[in-house]
């Protein structure tokens, strides 16, 4: 329980840490001790050497995700341009075959600014909350958010430039988005305007795709520039209040990524590719709390770590339904 609370706290900006002796399970402790024996160390070194000699490159989840993001956003675009009424609206609020959908963050801001409860918005928000509770909260980020895809491409450029030594990644405090979440909620309430929508790249990109480009896209290009030249995944990691809301929604999600300590050789490939690497600190030698563990709620279920792990120590699972399915 305490370990779970720690994972929750990490989503709000807490530093990742080792589990204490009390939090660690006995099996995990034994396994870690076993992994520290010289024979095991030698075996792991051999495995890693072999991996480096014959690297396995998988992009299965990445491309699945790209298809998902493109298809979801294309449904919006096509609905309007071909007038097929599949998903009307934009990412902030829409109607999927007539069912209301509303982004929880945007809906909450509208409610705070307008100071009135609107039934359609409540219905839409509940639908979206239930949907993304199931798929894992921030799964919205990596499987639906149009900005995520742009940011992922910007990240690829950033990583290329970093490798060349032309740019450097500057980290920020992850608590920043929590502060921004409250500041923007307070601003919506105090000013009576949905202040955040003005700089919300998700809304801007989504509307630009559906209704045609606008001057506001310049802001999105600026953000992508920051991500390319200054800070890796700046918006998604440190800024986005929408991501935080989805993170909270997904704290008890059935769809999870599961970590298997017994298969892990602790080389850290997963942390290299991860959007939110603090959730994968458990894969460091000695950092796991149990022999199998669900990744922290901040995880976007993007699957990059699964693709990256040559040992298959990470994988998608349905929490509580493992035995049934």
């Amino acid at each position: 329980m305490r370990w779970y609370l720690h994972k929750l706290a990490m989503m709000f900006g807490a530093q990742p840490r080792r589990p204490s002796k009390r939090e660690e399970t006995d099996v995990a402790r034994d396994m870690k001790k076993f992994q520290k024996t010289p024979e095991e160390r030698y075996k792991r070194r051999e495995i890693i050497a072999k991996e480096q000699q014959y690297p396995v490159v998988s992009n299965k989840w990445k491309y699945a995700r790209w298809v998902s993001i493109i298809v979801i956003n294309l449904m919006f675009v096509v609905s309007f341009s071909w007038d097929v009424q599949l998903v009307e609206g934009a990412m902030t609020a829409s109607r999927f075959l007539g069912f209301h959908m509303a982004d929880p963050t945007s809906a909450l801001m509208v409610t705070l600014a307008y100071k009135d409860l609107m039934l359609n918005l409540i219905i839409g928000t509940v639908t979206v909350v239930v949907l993304w509770w199931f798929f894992g909260g921030r799964a919205f980020c990596s499987w639906a958010c149009p900005y995520h895809l742009l940011a992922e491409w910007a990240e690829a450029i950033h990583l290329f430039l970093t490798k060349r030594g032309w740019v450097k990644d500057h980290g920020f405090h992850r608590g920043l988005r929590v502060v921004l979440w409250f500041v923007f909620m307070a601003l919506a309430f105090l000013t009576g305007y949905t202040v955040f929508e003005y700089i919300n790249p998700i809304g801007i990109v989504s509307r630009a795709l559906i209704y045609g480009p606008t001057v506001a896209v310049v802001w999105v290009i600026f953000l992508l520039g920051v991500e390319i030249f200054f800070s890796r995944r700046f918006w998604c990691r440190y800024m986005c209040p929408m991501g935080l809301t989805y993170g909270v929604i997904g704290t008890m999600a059935p769809v999870q990524i599961k970590y298997d300590l017994s298969k892990c050789v602790h080389e850290g490939e997963c942390r290299e590719v991860c959007l939110v690497p603090h959730v994968l600190e458990i894969t460091k030698m000695g950092y796991a709390q149990d022999t199998t563990e669900y990744i922290a709620p901040d995880c976007t279920r993007c699957g990059l770590c699964i693709d990256a792990c040559p040992q298959g120590a990470l994988g998608f699972t349905f929490r509580g339904l493992d035995g049934i399915i």
């Binding site: 509303a102 502060v179 305007y193």
Partner: protein, 258 residues
């Protein structure tokens, strides 16, 4: 820091400072980024506070400030409009970004949909669901802003296409097609006395032509707007002269004046 005394105490202090420095730099960066984001978001207040844009909001729009607050910027109203009269505001409009409005001269709301579809589509009630009929709409009020250019005021007729052959505007001509609006450019007129603002007005008794004098041969007429006018802007779109003689005083500007 004195470099002459290599005692362990200041050395430890220095190392601590270095690790703290990195963290402090990160915190400062975060504060800076947060401040920048909030400032950028607050920039949007300026055009709204100063009412830099006078926008004709779609049918059913509640008073401007509440409208900006309750609109979730999704554009569902844009999607259902059969004449695509509704467009979304851009970044220069501040908090009007993504908020729908109508450019009546380009494409007015002619109620082609009959049942105020945009109101039904609105997920938040920014377009008030209390409105069910076009007669209940209050978007603004038409006003003869330039009587000197008005053809009816001069007693003149109109022949040809309203706003020229390249005009993209749509209008539903019930006598031609009850359901589908057609291009205004495809519907040329030949009028002895220009009465387009009255002829194409979708609201009954909202506007009429009143002779300027009691002389039976009087050709000069003044378009007279009644309180039935909902401000849909069809007269503004259909006015054949340039600059346009009749315009809509938006609810927004009327609010501001009141």
């Amino acid at each position: 820091m004195s470099e002459t005394t290599p005692s362990p105490a200041p050395k430890r202090k220095k190392r601590l400072t270095r690790s703290q420095l990195e963290r402090r730099r990160m915190i400062m960066r975060s504060l800076g980024a947060g401040t920048a984001a909030i400032t950028a978001a607050l920039v949007g207040w300026y055009p709204v506070a100063n009412r830099l844009f006078d926008r004709l909001r779609p049918p059913g729009a509640i008073p401007e400030d509440e409208f900006l607050a309750s609109c979730i910027k999704c554009g569902q109203c844009v999607q259902v409009c059969p004449v695509e009269a509704i467009v979304l505001g851009d970044g220069d409009e501040g908090y009007g970004l993504g908020v729908p409005y109508i450019n009546a001269r380009k494409q007015a709301c002619d109620f082609s949909c009959d049942a105020v579809q945009c109101v039904l589509a609105c997920p938040t009630g920014a377009l008030s669901h209390e409105i069910a009929k076009k007669e209940e709409v209050t978007m603004g009020v038409a006003r003869l802003a330039r009587p000197d250019t008005c053809l009816a005021m001069k007693g003149e007729g109109f022949t040809g296409q309203v706003q020229g052959p390249d005009f993209d505007g749509l209008l539903r001509y019930t006598e031609i097609d009850r359901w589908t609006p057609i291009k205004v450019a495809d519907h040329p007129y030949d009028l002895e006395l220009c009465d387009l603002c009255v002829r194409e007005c979708p609201i009954d008794d909202a506007i009429s032509l009143v002779p300027l004098s009691s002389d039976p041969d009087e050709m000069r007429h003044i378009p007279t707007i009644t309180d039935k006018c909902v401000g849909c802007g069809t007269c503004e779109m259909m006015c054949p002269v340039e600059p346009v003689a009749i315009i809509i005083d938006t609810e927004m500007s009327l609010e501001g004046a009141a």
